[in-house]
Symmetry: C2
Subunit: 420 residues, 2 copies
C-alpha cells in the first residue's frame, strides 16, 4: 500500500490578502500536484509579516510532506521569505557565486545596470540548494530539512511555472513513491450536467473502484474527468481509454474533444485537415468568435475573415441581406441569419459561412423576442443549418454562449453530422 | 486610536484543493473587506475533512475577529461545514421553520419537487442566526461566539456575493468601530511602471502619512491606487482627490479614467457624449477590439460595426486597400493601416475608423518585420494618426496589447489630444 504524500501550498504577500491581485499560482500548483498523485491538504495565504509567516511555516511542517512557497522574494525590505526561512532553519544568508553570475547575466541581457539591491537576490540561506530561475532575478530555493521537502519560488506566475515544470515536479516524482494516476478529460457541449448524468448513469455505476469520475461544468459545456489509479502509467491509461470507449456510444454526438482541446481549436483542426475555410458574420456575438478563432496560432490558414454588421445598413449593404427580410422578419430572425451566413461565405469566398443575430441585452427585448433570443446559422455549398437559442438575461453570458453553440454548429456541419 | 479589526477567510472543498475549480470567492471577499477597513490576516483552504476543518476553525479563532467561511454547505454527506460548526460551538442541529419555508418556495418557483435531502438544508446549528439566501438552497449562518463573529456562506459565487453585500458587510460595519478608508484608482495607459514612478517621485515622497500609494500593473496599463484613512468618509475622499489634482499635471495625458473605468467603456462614453460613431478594421487583433466594444451594454448606439480582413484579398476587395500598397509595402505597413482605417470609416459611414495590422506570432516574422511588429491607425474627417508598436513573442499578449494601444489611440483622437 502506497503512503499518501501530502503537500501544503503557501502564498505570501500583502497584495494577495488585500485583494490587489488574484492568486492564480496556488490554483495552478494544485492542478499540477493532483496530476502526479500528491494530495494537497491545505492552502494558506499570509501577508508580509514575520509572525504570520513563521507560524505558517510550522503549521505547514506539521500538516505536509512537501511545502511549496510562492512570493515574498523581492529585493526590498518588505520581502521576508528568504531571511525567515534562514531563521526557521537556523542558518545564515550568504552570496551564492553561481546565483550572482546568473543575476549579472540577466541584467546584461536586458541592458540594465546591476544595482547593489539586485545583487542581494543572490544571497541565499546556506542550508538551501540553489535552483536557477532562468527568466527572473529571484532564484528558487530547495530545502530538505526536518524530514520534509520545502521549495520557495517567486510569485511571478511564469517564473514559478517554469521552476515547477523543469525542476520541482520531476524532483518530487523521483523522491517520493507516488501512486500512478492518469487523468483524461472528455469534453462535451450542447447538453446539461443532469441530462448527461441521466444518459450515462448505468455506465457510471458500473465503473470499477479504481476509476473515478467527476463532472466539471463550465459555460455551455460539461467536462467529464476520468481518473484511474494503477501500478503502471500504461495500465492506468488503458483502463481510462477502455471506459471512454464504453461511454462513447451513449454520448458520442456531444463529445467534441479531449484534454486540452477547445471548441475553437477543434474546429480549426478539422478545417485544416479538410483544407477548408471559414468566414464569420457576427451580430450579437460582436467579434468574439473571430477573437477565439484568431487566438489560435496558424488560424490564418483556414480563417478568411469576418464582419461585425452591428446595424441593419451594414447587414444590407455590406453583406447583401435583403431589405425586405430585415423589415418583414427583423434582424433577429431565421431568414436574416440564413442570408448573413450565405452572404459572408460568398463575400470572403469561404467554404463555410457562420452567422449570429440576437438580443444580447440588457435592453432591446420584446415580448415576442425577449433578451436572450439568438439565431445562428451555418452555410456551406450544400445548404444552411440554423438554430434558435433561448439564452439568459446576462449580456456577457449570452455572447459567450452564442459563440459556444455557433462553433458547435460549425463543427457538426464540417463533420457532416446530423442535427440533434 | 482605532483598533485594527482582523479577518480570516476560510474556503472549504476538496474541489478547490485538487484544482478542479478556482477559488474566486476568497479574492472577492478580500477586496470587499479591504474597502471597509477590515484587515485580512490570512486565507486558508481546506478539504472536506473533519480534522482539517476543526483545526482551521481553531486557528482562525486565534488569528482573527471575523471569520468568513465559504463552501461545504451542500445537502450531501460530503459537506461538513454545518455539523462541524455545531460540534465546534457545542450545540445541536435543528430545523428552522423559516428556512424550511424558504427552501420549499424556492423549489416551487423552479417547478421541482422538494426531496427529504433538500429539506435538510433547513437544519441549522441552534446557536446560529439564520440568514436567508434568496437565490439558493443553502442558508447563511451568523454566529457570535467566544467573542468572535463567524459567518458561513455557500461556495456558489453569486449566492455568497449577495449574502456578503446585503447582510455581512453592512452588519460588520455596524458592529465594529472601523477606520474610514477611501480608495481611488487612477488608471493610466501607454507608460511603464518605472517611467511612471520616475515622473511622480517628488509627488510620491511628499504624500502625507495617512495617504498610501500602490502601483498595480496589468497588461499595457498601470493603475495607481490611492488610499486615505481618516475620521470621516468625506475627509478621506477630499484628501485623495486633492492628491490626484496634484499628480494630474505630471501624468495627465496617460490617465484615461478612474475606478471601474476601462478603456473600451471610456471610449464608448466619449463617443456617446459627442454623438459620434466608430468602425473597426482588425487584422492582427482579429476581432478582439470589436468584442471589447460590444461587451458594453448600449454599444450599438456608437458602434457601427467591424471587419476582420485576415487575408489580403479581403483587405483589397472589401476594404479598398490598393493592390500596389499591399504588394509594395506589405500588409503590415503604415500605408496599409492608413488605407484600412479610411476604408472602414467610409464603408460603415462612421466618424472614426480604427485599424490594426501586424505579426501576432508565433510564426510569420522576418528580420525586417519580426513577430510583434504591429501598425495601428485611426482615421477621422481631419486625417489619420498612426503608431508603430514593437510588442512581444507571445500571440495572446500581442492581441491584447494591440487592443489596448489602439483603443488609446482612438481615445486621444476623440479628445483631440496631440500624440506623444
Amino acid at each position: 500500500m502506497i503512503r499518501i504524500v501530502k503537500a501544503e501550498i503557501l502564498a505570501i504577500g500583502d497584495e494577495l490578502l488585500y485583494g490587489q491581485i488574484q492568486d492564480t499560482n496556488s490554483f495552478w500548483i494544485s492542478q499540477e500536484l493532483d496530476k502526479i498523485g500528491v494530495k494537497v491538504v491545505r492552502r494558506t495565504t499570509v501577508g508580509d509579516d514575520r509572525e504570520a509567516m513563521l507560524h505558517a511555516f510550522s503549521q505547514a511542517e506539521e500538516a505536509a510532506d512537501i511545502i511549496l512557497i510562492t512570493g515574498g522574494l523581492g529585493p526590498t525590505r518588505d520581502d521576508l521569505t528568504k531571511p525567515l526561512l534562514a531563521e526557521y532553519f537556523n542558518c545564515e544568508l550568504a552570496i551564492v557565486p553561481e546565483a550572482l553570475e546568473a543575476v549579472r547575466q540577466l541584467f546584461e541581457r536586458r541592458g540594465r545596470e546591476l544595482t547593489p539591491t539586485n545583487e542581494l537576490q543572490a544571497q541565499l540561506p546556506t542550508k538551501c540548494q540553489y535552483v536557477p530561475n532562468e527568466v527572473g532575478t529571484a532564484p528558487g530555493m530547495w530545502f530538505e530539512e526536518k524530514g520534509k521537502v520545502w521549495m520557495s519560488m517567486p510569485g511571478v506566475p511564469h517564473e514559478m511555472k517554469r521552476l515547477m515544470s523543469n525542476y520541482v515536479l520531476p524532483r518530487i516524482k523521483r523522491l517520493f513513491d507516488l501512486p500512478v494516476i492518469y487523468h483524461k478529460l472528455v469534453k462535451t457541449v450542447g447538453i446539461g450536467e443532469s441530462w448527461l448524468s441521466d444518459l450515462i448513469k448505468d455506465w457510471e455505476s458500473a465503473l470499477p473502484d479504481h476509476v473515478g469520475l467527476a463532472y466539471l461544468p463550465s459555460i455551455g459545456e460539461v467536462k467529464l474527468r476520468l481518473t484511474a489509479t494503477s501500478t503502471t502509467f500504461e495500465e492506468a491509461e488503458r483502463e481510462v481509454d477502455e471506459q471512454i470507449e464504453r461511454v462513447r456510444p451513449l454520448i458520442g454526438k456531444y463529445i467534441y474533444g479531449y484534454n486540452q482541446d477547445q471548441l475553437h481549436t477543434v474546429v480549426g483542426h478539422h478545417l485544416s485537415q479538410k483544407g477548408e475555410s471559414i468566414a464569420l458574420a457576427e451580430s450579437c456575438s460582436g467579434g468574439y468568435i473571430a477573437h477565439l478563432i484568431t487566438s489560435v496560432p496558424g488560424s490564418s490558414g483556414y480563417f478568411k475573415g469576418g464582419m461585425v454588421p452591428y446595424h441593419n445598413e451594414a447587414k444590407e449593404y455590406l453583406l447583401g441581406v435583403k431589405r425586405e427580410t430585415l423589415s418583414s422578419k427583423g434582424a433577429v430572425s431565421e431568414e436574416t441569419v440564413i442570408e448573413m451566413a450565405k452572404g459572408i461565405k460568398d463575400k470572403f469566398n469561404a467554404d463555410y459561412g457562420l452567422s449570429s443575430s440576437g438580443i444580447a441585452g440588457p435592453d432591446g427585448g420584446s415580448s415576442e423576442k425577449p433578451v436572450g433570443t439568438v439565431w445562428i446559422a451555418c452555410a456551406n455549398k450544400d445548404g444552411v443549418r440554423t438554430k434558435l437559442l433561448k439564452l439568459t438575461q446576462d449580456r456577457a453570458l449570452n455572447i459567450h454562449l452564442t459563440a459556444v453553440y455557433a462553433l458547435n454548429l460549425l463543427r457538426r456541419c464540417i463533420l457532416g453530422e446530423s442535427d440533434d
